[in-house]
């Protein structure tokens, strides 16, 4: 039996409520100071810029993946070799390098006088320490070709470092230029046991920027690294505001809180159009960073005939569709890989839109329209296919619907299935699809990663191509290209591979994807990085607002 005191209950309740407010208020105080000193003041200062990013920058560990954001990792950490325009590889932390005649030994002369942001020296020993940390979790990184063939990583002398491979693999340098995992953490960042997979102590790198302030999910402030060996950035501070919503990003930009919005798909097509028409702002599109393609799975008997695949390729107006749906943000693609990668500047015959030819090809292949029917048939089977698309991607959805309508006129029935991305990938890997929107990896991963999946099962591409008549020959040439040490021969092999893919039409190029940048007029000298994953900030200048 208890006695219920009304007044004391009221008191308890109000005190609880008050306490909650106080707790919340206190926990908030620290952040409010930070935010007002860092982000708010930056905008007015001409030596710094504020940009947005959709996600928190993550843990800034150079050797791990999600949730760390690539662009931020690339601000702090640097590679041995840097990937530049048109695939040119330039010295970064390695000043020069030599390759043995058999293509199995790479010797790097490291740049002298390089210091980490904490003042410690960059040398062969720390390079080895980083390689060891990465290779300790080899399986995690097996997607990167060089990891699979790396035999030994050795210190030759203080500024010489050597890699030995188990077999020749030409894209070693391209693989070393990617943002993760082969970039270099200073000694102070390593945990006691040297295993960085569980986290780093502090983000110490040799790059032009260092992380000065960070508030999870809110912002990150990067300051210029005073010890940077290269040309110092012209601005001294970059504040990255974490804004997950695309429309909010645009509002913050229009208000003047943001100087730069950069990335792939970071603002809606409509917002980009509006900002482009506004003279107060500058909008820019990059060179192609990847290709949006449609896979026509040749292992499906209905798609095994090249005539059917070619008919489908010719049977929709790519130019009009891409322009109409993306408002010029993407460009209609003539080949699976754009010409700005190494070895891909090959002359290929583009496949043109031609409805009549398309119908003729289907007739030739035996798929005929039955009297009074709208769907073509062969041996009693209707020409009906399923197209899988990512239901969260408005562009894919619009394209899927357009293609469905256009092929409908040919007498081909397309059923659309919208799926979650992970389910989609699962079906791709299981070879459980007819038509699938696929993207290549972009620079610096391509073209070698692309040809690798052409020949390696398990990625969906080799399966898509499995019923083309020259599949075996194609695979052999891919292996030859990846291990070749002769430039001319490699170029020849790439030529054959790209030409074959073009003629077989199992991978139908649709559009070239571009990065967008929208910025205030005070920013000058904005250049997109050649490496898809890197940041564009080092060259930026800020003029009078």
């Amino acid at each position: 039996m208890f006695v219920f005191h009304r007044r004391s209950t009221a008191l308890i309740l109000s005190v609880t409520l008050l306490l909650l407010f106080i707790i919340v208020g206190c926990s908030n105080e620290g952040s409010s100071k930070d935010a007002s000193t860092s982000s708010a003041n930056d905008v007015s200062s001409s030596q710094s810029i504020t940009m947005s990013w959709p996600r928190d920058i993550g843990t800034m560990n150079p050797h791990t993946y999600n949730p760390s954001q690539l662009f931020a990792q690339s601000m702090i950490y640097e590679p041995l070799v840097s990937y530049q325009k048109d695939g040119k590889l330039e010295p970064a932390l390695a000043e020069s390098w030599t390759t043995s005649g058999d293509g199995k030994v790479y010797t790097f002369k490291l740049r002298q006088g390089v210091k980490f942001s904490d003042g410690t020296d960059f040398n062969a020993e720390i390079v080895k320490k980083n390689f060891d940390a990465v290779m300790k979790h080899k399986d995690m990184h097996s997607w990167l070709g060089v990891v699979g063939v790396l035999d030994k990583a050795e210190v030759v002398d203080d500024h010489t470092f050597r890699l030995t491979l188990t077999e020749p693999y030409y894209p070693v340098l391209q693989d070393l230029s990617v943002v993760r995992p082969f970039r270099f953490l200073g000694k102070a960042g390593f945990p006691e046991d040297g295993d960085t997979s569980e986290g780093v102590k502090e983000p110490v790198g040799t790059g032009p920027w260092m992380l000065a302030e960070y508030k999870q999910d809110e912002y990150a402030v990067f300051k210029r690294n005073p010890n940077y060996w290269g040309t110092a950035p012209k601005i001294d501070q970059v504040t990255v505001k974490i804004i997950p919503d695309a429309e909010t990003r645009v509002a913050a930009f229009e208000k003047g809180d943001l100087d730069l919005i950069y990335g792939e798909g970071v603002i809606s097509l409509d917002a980009f159009k509006l900002l482009r028409e506004n003279d107060e702002y500058v909008t820019q599109l990059s060179d192609p960073v990847g290709t949006r393609s449609l896979l026509l799975n040749s292992s499906n008997p209905k798609l095994s005939d090249v005539k059917v695949r070619m008919a489908l390729h010719k049977g929709f107006n790519k130019q009009v569709m891409v322009e109409g749906i993306t408002s010029g943000l993407e460009e209609a693609a003539d080949s699976v890989l754009s010409k700005n990668y190494p070895y891909t500047n090959v002359d290929l015959e583009p496949v043109r839109y031609d409805l009549e030819q398309s119908k003729a090809l289907l007739d030739e292949a035996g798929w005929k329209l039955p009297a009074g029917g709208t769907i073509r048939e062969k041996e009693g089977q209707p020409l009906e296919l399923e197209m899988i698309f990512d239901k969260t991607d408005p562009i894919q959805k619009a394209m899927a619907e357009t293609i469905q309508a256009e092929w409908g006129q040919l007498g081909v029935k397309v059923n659309l299935t919208g799926l979650e991305l992970t389910v989609q990938i699962k079906r791709l890997k299981a070879n459980d699809f007819d038509l699938y929107f696929w993207y290549n990896y972009g620079a610096p991963y391509d073209p070698h990663s692309f040809i690798n999946v052409v020949a390696s099962p398990g990625f969906g591409i080799s399966e898509t191509l499995s019923a083309i008549p020259m599949k075996k020959e194609l695979d052999d040439r891919v292996h030859a290209a990846l291990s070749s040490t002769d430039e001319t021969k490699r170029q020849e092999l790439y030529g054959f591979i790209l030409k074959t893919l073009q003629e077989q039409s199992a991978i139908v190029p649709i559009s070239y994807i571009k990065k967008t940048a929208v910025y205030q007029k005070k920013i000058t000298d904005f250049v997109f990085p050649a490496n898809r994953d890197e940041h564009p900030l080092t060259g930026i200048e800020v003029g009078a607002p």
Binding site: S31, T59, N66, E218, T248
Partner: protein, 314 residues
């Protein structure tokens, strides 16, 4: 009293048990493999070897029952494991995001009470007057406008055009204004109508006529007697909404870049970050029960008739 609260708190256990079981089942029915989702999010191609290694790391290669029992065992010790995605203890991650969500929830609750209680009373007292019509207008608007759209409209007007308030972020009181209004409007819409009708109903009761005949002043009848009883459904509503607000206001957090719990949870769902999802379900279950208990305690205080009944039942 204490034993009553104690009993109610103990009821958390079976509810959490059921909630985690359902979540666990749902996650495993879903065709998405958490290891695969992790790799996709990390832009790593899920080769069979990597997948197997990740599954082993996450303990997904164990029998379902073992996995579930392990989870329950850990939860009992308030250990929610490590996030698949960030590799940090889930509880630390949640703890760092909770204050932002709690702050927004409490302010929204407070603001909606401060607006809807006077508005509801006035709308009832001056039935069919202009103030009643205005309150009805606000309610229609608040109940029918989608929250994200309201958020954008407020941002566009007060931040971009008038430049009075920040677009996004957290830290100062200015940051709180727009998200609080966005969250509160729908609550105000409901509470005002709820209070109005409940007041009108009570005003027909005989005790009101009796009070009038006793010569009590109208204001004192309304505020001291009618309101005290009429406010009861509103308190129930607020308790339920508080639970909802505290478990994260996903859309508003997204629109205003509010660094709260809801945003974190949505990411966890997309990435099938099971430890995070389970921690969330656990917290949500607890919060709802605690909020309900709070409601009952307030009701007990406000309406002594319930308290006697309640006591008899105990």
């Amino acid at each position: 009293m204490i034993s009553y609260i104690g009993k109610r708190m103990i009821s958390i256990i079976p509810i959490v048990f059921v909630a985690t079981l359902v979540t666990f089942a749902l996650i495993h029915i879903s065709p998405v493999d958490p290891a695969e989702a992790y790799l996709t999010a990390a832009h790593i191609y899920p080769t069979p070897e990597v997948l197997e290694q990740k599954r082993h790391e996450f303990g997904l290669d164990q029998p379902l029952l073992t996995q579930y029992l392990n989870t329950i065992k850990r939860m009992a010790k308030m250990d929610f494991g490590t996030s698949y995605l960030t590799n940090k203890p889930v509880w630390d991650e949640v703890k760092s995001r909770l204050p932002a969500t709690v702050e927004l929830a409490l302010w929204s609750m407070l603001f909606s009470a401060l607006v809807s209680i006077p508005l509801g009373i006035l709308a009832a007292v001056y039935k069919n007057s202009w103030i009643d019509r205005v309150s009805r207008g606000i309610s229609y608007f608040g109940a029918s406008i989608p929250q994200f759209w309201l958020g954008y409209l407020l941002i566009f007007l007060f931040s971009v055009k008038l430049d009075w308030l920040p677009v996004e972020g957290r830290g100062t009181w200015e940051n709180l204004v727009l998200p609080t209004i966005t969250l509160s409007l729908v609550l105000i819409a409901v509470y005002t109508r709820l209070l109005r009708s409940s007041m009108l109903e009570q005003m027909q009761e005989t005790y009101v006529q009796y009070a009038r005949t006793r010569g009590l002043r109208e204001r004192s009848i309304l505020l001291k007697h009618v309101l005290k009883i009429a406010i009861s459904p509103l308190i129930t509503g607020m308790g339920m909404n508080l639970g909802k607000l505290l478990t994260g206001t996903i859309i508003v957090e997204q629109v205003f870049s509010w660094p709260g719990f809801g945003r974190y949870f949505v990411d966890a769902i997309f990435n099938r970050d099971i430890p995070v999802i389970q921690c969330y379900v656990f917290l949500a279950a607890c919060l709802f029960i605690v909020c309900n208990l709070l409601v009952d305690l307030v009701q007990l205080y406000m309406d002594p008739r319930i308290s006697t009944k309640g006591r008899a039942e105990l």
